[in-house]
Protein backbone atom coordinates (compact mmCIF):
# COMPACT_ATOMS: atom_id res chain seq x y z
CA UNK A 1 0.00 0.00 0.00
CA UNK A 2 1.41 3.35 -0.96
CA UNK A 3 1.85 6.08 1.64
CA UNK A 4 -0.23 9.21 1.54
CA UNK A 5 0.54 12.22 3.72
CA UNK A 6 -2.11 13.36 6.16
CA UNK A 7 -3.47 16.85 6.49
CA UNK A 8 -1.04 17.80 9.24
CA UNK A 9 1.98 16.57 7.33
CA UNK A 10 0.93 18.49 4.23
CA UNK A 11 0.53 21.67 6.32
CA UNK A 12 4.02 21.10 7.70
CA UNK A 13 5.48 20.98 4.19
CA UNK A 14 3.40 23.97 3.16
CA UNK A 15 4.91 26.08 5.91
CA UNK A 16 8.39 24.95 4.85
CA UNK A 17 7.71 26.23 1.33
CA UNK A 18 6.47 29.55 2.64
CA UNK A 19 9.59 30.09 4.74
CA UNK A 20 11.64 29.59 1.56
CA UNK A 21 10.09 32.68 0.00
CA UNK A 22 7.99 30.91 -2.63
CA UNK A 23 4.94 33.16 -2.95
CA UNK A 24 3.82 32.68 -6.54
CA UNK A 25 0.61 30.72 -6.05
CA UNK A 26 0.51 28.52 -9.17
CA UNK A 27 4.02 27.32 -8.29
CA UNK A 28 3.31 26.99 -4.58
CA UNK A 29 0.63 24.35 -5.20
CA UNK A 30 2.78 22.45 -7.63
CA UNK A 31 5.90 22.40 -5.49
CA UNK A 32 3.81 21.33 -2.52
CA UNK A 33 2.57 18.32 -4.45
CA UNK A 34 6.06 17.66 -5.77
CA UNK A 35 7.63 17.61 -2.32
CA UNK A 36 4.79 15.50 -0.95
CA UNK A 37 5.43 12.98 -3.73
CA UNK A 38 9.16 12.95 -2.97
CA UNK A 39 8.46 12.22 0.70
CA UNK A 40 5.84 9.61 -0.09
CA UNK A 41 8.25 7.80 -2.41
CA UNK A 42 10.77 7.57 0.42
CA UNK A 43 8.12 6.50 2.92
CA UNK A 44 7.16 3.71 0.54
CA UNK A 45 10.70 2.44 0.93
CA UNK A 46 10.24 2.27 4.70
CA UNK A 47 11.59 5.67 5.76
CA UNK A 48 9.63 7.58 8.41
CA UNK A 49 7.96 10.89 7.58
CA UNK A 50 10.37 12.70 9.91
CA UNK A 51 13.48 11.31 8.17
CA UNK A 52 12.05 11.63 4.68
CA UNK A 53 10.97 15.25 5.13
CA UNK A 54 14.35 16.17 6.62
CA UNK A 55 16.11 14.59 3.66
CA UNK A 56 13.85 16.30 1.14
CA UNK A 57 14.18 19.69 2.83
CA UNK A 58 17.97 19.29 2.69
CA UNK A 59 17.65 18.55 -1.03
CA UNK A 60 16.60 22.14 -1.68
CA UNK A 61 19.45 24.58 -1.30
CA UNK A 62 18.90 27.71 0.74
CA UNK A 63 17.35 29.89 -1.99
CA UNK A 64 16.53 27.22 -4.51
CA UNK A 65 12.76 27.58 -4.33
CA UNK A 66 12.94 31.35 -4.47
CA UNK A 67 15.23 31.11 -7.51
CA UNK A 68 12.85 28.67 -9.14
CA UNK A 69 10.04 31.17 -8.69
CA UNK A 70 12.11 34.08 -10.01
CA UNK A 71 13.16 32.09 -13.03
CA UNK A 72 9.57 31.11 -13.80
CA UNK A 73 8.36 34.69 -13.59
CA UNK A 74 11.29 35.89 -15.67
CA UNK A 75 10.55 33.30 -18.35
CA UNK A 76 6.88 34.23 -18.41
CA UNK A 77 7.78 37.89 -18.81
CA UNK A 78 10.30 37.23 -21.54
CA UNK A 79 7.88 38.10 -24.33
CA UNK A 80 7.39 41.56 -22.90
CA UNK A 81 11.11 41.86 -22.46
CA UNK A 82 11.68 40.95 -26.10
CA UNK A 83 9.16 43.62 -27.10
CA UNK A 84 11.07 46.12 -25.01
CA UNK A 85 14.26 45.11 -26.78
CA UNK A 86 12.63 45.53 -30.19
CA UNK A 87 11.27 48.95 -29.22
CA UNK A 88 14.74 49.96 -28.09
CA UNK A 89 16.26 48.67 -31.29
CA UNK A 90 13.78 50.57 -33.46
CA UNK A 91 14.39 53.70 -31.43
CA UNK A 92 18.15 53.29 -31.82
CA UNK A 93 17.80 52.80 -35.56
CA UNK A 94 15.67 55.92 -35.90
CA UNK A 95 18.20 57.88 -33.93
CA UNK A 96 20.98 56.65 -36.21
CA UNK A 97 19.00 57.60 -39.33
CA UNK A 98 18.30 61.07 -37.94
CA UNK A 99 21.96 61.53 -37.03
CA UNK A 100 23.13 60.41 -40.46
CA UNK A 101 20.59 62.65 -42.23
CA UNK A 102 21.74 65.52 -40.08
CA UNK A 103 25.38 64.75 -40.82
CA UNK A 104 24.64 64.59 -44.56
CA UNK A 105 22.88 67.94 -44.40
CA UNK A 106 25.95 69.39 -42.77
CA UNK A 107 28.17 70.14 -45.71
CA UNK A 108 31.39 71.83 -44.72
CA UNK A 109 33.75 72.92 -47.52
CA UNK A 110 36.12 70.11 -48.35
CA UNK A 111 38.27 71.13 -51.34
CA UNK A 112 40.33 74.07 -52.51
CA UNK A 113 38.45 76.59 -54.70
CA UNK A 114 41.06 76.16 -57.42
CA UNK A 115 41.08 72.40 -57.51
CA UNK A 116 44.13 70.32 -56.71
CA UNK A 117 46.76 72.74 -58.01
CA UNK A 118 46.88 75.80 -55.85
CA UNK A 119 49.52 77.95 -54.21
CA UNK A 120 48.82 79.99 -51.13
CA UNK A 121 50.46 83.39 -51.42
CA UNK A 122 49.08 84.78 -48.20
CA UNK A 123 47.74 82.65 -45.35
CA UNK A 124 45.16 83.19 -42.69
CA UNK A 125 46.04 85.28 -39.63
CA UNK A 126 48.04 88.41 -38.79
CA UNK A 127 50.05 89.80 -41.66
CA UNK A 128 51.53 93.00 -42.96
CA UNK A 129 49.02 94.41 -45.42
CA UNK A 130 50.81 95.07 -48.72
CA UNK A 131 48.68 98.10 -49.63
CA UNK A 132 47.58 99.52 -46.27
CA UNK A 133 51.20 99.11 -45.04
CA UNK A 134 50.20 98.00 -41.57
CA UNK A 135 49.64 94.80 -39.58
CA UNK A 136 46.16 93.45 -40.16
CA UNK A 137 44.36 90.22 -39.56
CA UNK A 138 43.90 88.34 -42.80
CA UNK A 139 40.56 86.61 -42.54
CA UNK A 140 41.00 84.32 -45.53
CA UNK A 141 43.67 82.97 -47.81
CA UNK A 142 45.02 84.32 -51.08
CA UNK A 143 45.63 81.77 -53.79
CA UNK A 144 47.83 82.54 -56.75
CA UNK A 145 45.66 82.57 -59.87
CA UNK A 146 46.19 84.09 -63.32
CA UNK A 147 43.19 86.16 -64.39
CA UNK A 148 40.50 83.89 -65.82
CA UNK A 149 41.25 80.80 -63.69
CA UNK A 150 37.99 78.92 -62.99
CA UNK A 151 36.89 79.28 -59.37
CA UNK A 152 35.07 76.25 -57.96
CA UNK A 153 32.47 75.87 -55.26
CA UNK A 154 34.11 74.06 -52.35
CA UNK A 155 30.92 72.25 -51.26
CA UNK A 156 27.28 71.85 -52.28
CA UNK A 157 25.26 74.93 -51.51
CA UNK A 158 23.17 77.87 -52.66
CA UNK A 159 24.50 81.20 -53.96
CA UNK A 160 23.64 83.61 -51.18
CA UNK A 161 25.21 86.89 -52.27
CA UNK A 162 26.89 88.46 -55.29
CA UNK A 163 28.42 91.91 -54.88
CA UNK A 164 31.00 94.28 -56.20
CA UNK A 165 33.06 96.30 -53.70
CA UNK A 166 35.84 97.90 -55.74
CA UNK A 167 37.72 99.09 -52.65
CA UNK A 168 37.86 95.77 -50.87
CA UNK A 169 36.70 92.40 -52.16
CA UNK A 170 36.06 93.47 -55.72
CA UNK A 171 33.54 91.15 -57.32
CA UNK A 172 32.69 88.43 -54.85
CA UNK A 173 30.34 85.53 -54.19
CA UNK A 174 29.08 84.07 -50.91
CA UNK A 175 27.76 80.50 -50.95
CA UNK A 176 25.64 79.15 -48.11
CA UNK A 177 26.34 75.45 -47.59
CA UNK A 178 24.36 74.56 -44.48
CA UNK A 179 23.32 76.05 -41.18
CA UNK A 180 26.94 76.44 -40.13
CA UNK A 181 29.08 77.09 -43.19
CA UNK A 182 29.43 79.83 -45.81
CA UNK A 183 32.31 80.41 -48.20
CA UNK A 184 33.39 83.64 -49.86
CA UNK A 185 35.26 84.03 -53.16
CA UNK A 186 36.65 87.49 -53.92
CA UNK A 187 38.67 89.49 -56.44
CA UNK A 188 36.84 87.79 -59.30
CA UNK A 189 36.85 88.95 -62.90
CA UNK A 190 33.67 87.19 -63.87
CA UNK A 191 30.70 85.70 -62.06
CA UNK A 192 28.95 82.70 -63.64
CA UNK A 193 26.13 82.13 -61.15
CA UNK A 194 23.07 83.93 -59.82
CA UNK A 195 21.75 84.48 -56.33
CA UNK A 196 19.56 81.56 -55.26
CA UNK A 197 21.19 79.15 -57.68
CA UNK A 198 22.10 75.71 -56.35
CA UNK A 199 25.68 74.65 -56.91
CA UNK A 200 27.53 71.38 -56.50
CA UNK A 201 31.00 70.91 -55.10
CA UNK A 202 33.56 71.46 -57.86
CA UNK A 203 31.19 73.51 -60.02
CA UNK A 204 32.67 76.64 -61.64
CA UNK A 205 31.07 79.73 -60.13
CA UNK A 206 33.28 82.41 -61.66
CA UNK A 207 36.70 83.33 -62.95
CA UNK A 208 39.51 84.74 -60.90
CA UNK A 209 40.72 88.30 -61.45
CA UNK A 210 42.26 91.27 -59.80
CA UNK A 211 39.13 93.31 -59.22
CA UNK A 212 39.42 94.75 -55.71
CA UNK A 213 42.17 96.11 -53.52
CA UNK A 214 44.82 93.86 -54.86
CA UNK A 215 48.47 93.98 -55.95
CA UNK A 216 48.48 90.93 -58.18
CA UNK A 217 45.95 88.54 -59.72
CA UNK A 218 44.75 86.12 -57.04
CA UNK A 219 41.69 84.56 -55.49
CA UNK A 220 40.79 85.63 -52.00
CA UNK A 221 38.90 82.81 -50.28
CA UNK A 222 37.18 82.73 -46.89
CA UNK A 223 35.42 80.06 -44.88
CA UNK A 224 32.79 81.36 -42.49
CA UNK A 225 31.65 79.01 -39.76
CA UNK A 226 28.72 80.16 -37.61
CA UNK A 227 29.39 83.71 -38.77
CA UNK A 228 33.10 83.67 -37.88
CA UNK A 229 35.98 83.61 -40.32
CA UNK A 230 38.07 80.48 -39.81
CA UNK A 231 41.28 79.24 -41.43
CA UNK A 232 40.27 77.94 -44.89
CA UNK A 233 43.33 75.72 -45.16
CA UNK A 234 41.70 73.32 -42.68
CA UNK A 235 39.08 72.67 -45.34
CA UNK A 236 41.32 71.96 -48.29
CA UNK A 237 40.75 68.25 -48.21
CA UNK A 238 42.87 65.39 -46.97
Amino acid sequence: MSAELNHQQVSFIESFIETKGLEYEPLQEEILDHICCMIETQMNQGVTFHQASKQVFDHFRKDELKELQDQTIQLLNQKKWTMKKITLLVFGLMLTVVTITWAINLDPPKVSPLGENYKITSGYGMRFHPILKKKKRHVGVDLKAPIGTPVLSTADGVIEKIEDSPNTYGKYIIIKHDDAYQTLYAQLSEIKVEVGQKVKVGETIGLSGNSGMSTAPHLHYEVIKDGKRVDPEQYFGP
Binding site: H7, V10, H34, E67, L68, T72
Partner: protein, 87 residues
Protein backbone atom coordinates in the same frame (compact mmCIF):
# COMPACT_ATOMS: atom_id res chain seq x y z
CA UNK B 1 1.42 13.57 -16.37
CA UNK B 2 2.16 15.81 -13.41
CA UNK B 3 5.46 17.46 -12.51
CA UNK B 4 6.86 14.83 -10.16
CA UNK B 5 5.77 12.05 -12.51
CA UNK B 6 7.56 13.74 -15.43
CA UNK B 7 10.81 14.00 -13.47
CA UNK B 8 10.60 10.32 -12.44
CA UNK B 9 9.73 9.28 -15.98
CA UNK B 10 12.77 11.08 -17.41
CA UNK B 11 14.95 9.52 -14.74
CA UNK B 12 13.76 5.98 -15.48
CA UNK B 13 13.82 6.39 -19.28
CA UNK B 14 17.41 7.62 -19.13
CA UNK B 15 18.32 4.90 -16.64
CA UNK B 16 19.15 7.52 -14.04
CA UNK B 17 21.49 9.45 -16.32
CA UNK B 18 19.23 12.49 -16.66
CA UNK B 19 17.97 14.17 -13.53
CA UNK B 20 15.41 16.84 -14.27
CA UNK B 21 15.71 19.26 -11.37
CA UNK B 22 12.70 21.17 -10.10
CA UNK B 23 14.48 24.39 -11.09
CA UNK B 24 14.63 23.25 -14.70
CA UNK B 25 11.27 21.55 -14.91
CA UNK B 26 8.70 23.94 -13.47
CA UNK B 27 9.80 27.23 -15.07
CA UNK B 28 9.81 25.44 -18.43
CA UNK B 29 6.37 23.90 -17.91
CA UNK B 30 4.90 27.26 -16.99
CA UNK B 31 6.50 28.87 -20.00
CA UNK B 32 5.17 26.17 -22.33
CA UNK B 33 1.72 26.66 -20.84
CA UNK B 34 1.84 30.41 -21.39
CA UNK B 35 2.81 29.75 -25.01
CA UNK B 36 -0.15 27.41 -25.45
CA UNK B 37 1.98 24.35 -26.17
CA UNK B 38 0.73 22.44 -23.13
CA UNK B 39 -2.58 22.52 -21.31
CA UNK B 40 -3.20 21.70 -17.68
CA UNK B 41 -5.90 20.14 -15.62
CA UNK B 42 -5.97 20.53 -11.88
CA UNK B 43 -7.13 17.77 -9.55
CA UNK B 44 -7.66 18.55 -5.88
CA UNK B 45 -7.28 16.11 -3.05
CA UNK B 46 -7.30 17.43 0.48
CA UNK B 47 -4.97 20.40 0.75
CA UNK B 48 -3.11 19.29 -2.33
CA UNK B 49 -3.66 20.25 -5.91
CA UNK B 50 -2.09 18.24 -8.70
CA UNK B 51 -1.60 19.77 -12.09
CA UNK B 52 -1.67 17.35 -15.01
CA UNK B 53 0.04 18.45 -18.18
CA UNK B 54 -0.78 17.38 -21.71
CA UNK B 55 0.26 18.57 -25.17
CA UNK B 56 -2.05 20.80 -27.17
CA UNK B 57 -2.33 20.46 -30.97
CA UNK B 58 0.18 23.28 -31.33
CA UNK B 59 2.36 21.50 -28.78
CA UNK B 60 2.31 18.27 -30.80
CA UNK B 61 3.33 20.16 -33.90
CA UNK B 62 6.13 21.90 -32.01
CA UNK B 63 7.40 18.54 -30.73
CA UNK B 64 7.68 17.02 -34.20
CA UNK B 65 9.40 20.17 -35.47
CA UNK B 66 11.85 20.17 -32.59
CA UNK B 67 12.52 16.45 -32.99
CA UNK B 68 13.32 16.94 -36.65
CA UNK B 69 15.57 19.88 -35.82
CA UNK B 70 17.32 17.89 -33.14
CA UNK B 71 17.86 14.87 -35.39
CA UNK B 72 19.38 17.11 -38.03
CA UNK B 73 21.62 18.64 -35.39
CA UNK B 74 22.77 15.21 -34.17
CA UNK B 75 23.45 14.14 -37.77
CA UNK B 76 25.45 17.29 -38.43
CA UNK B 77 27.44 16.83 -35.23
CA UNK B 78 28.22 13.24 -36.22
CA UNK B 79 29.49 14.41 -39.58
CA UNK B 80 31.74 16.92 -37.87
CA UNK B 81 32.98 14.72 -35.06
CA UNK B 82 33.28 11.46 -37.01
CA UNK B 83 34.04 12.43 -40.62
CA UNK B 84 33.86 9.54 -43.08
CA UNK B 85 37.33 8.20 -43.79
CA UNK B 86 38.46 8.49 -47.38
CA UNK B 87 38.92 5.11 -49.09
Amino acid sequence: MYGYEISQHVKSLSEGKLILTEGALYPTLHKLESEGLVQTEKVFFGKRARKYYSLTTAGNKAVSNKLEEFQEFVLAMQLILFPKQAH
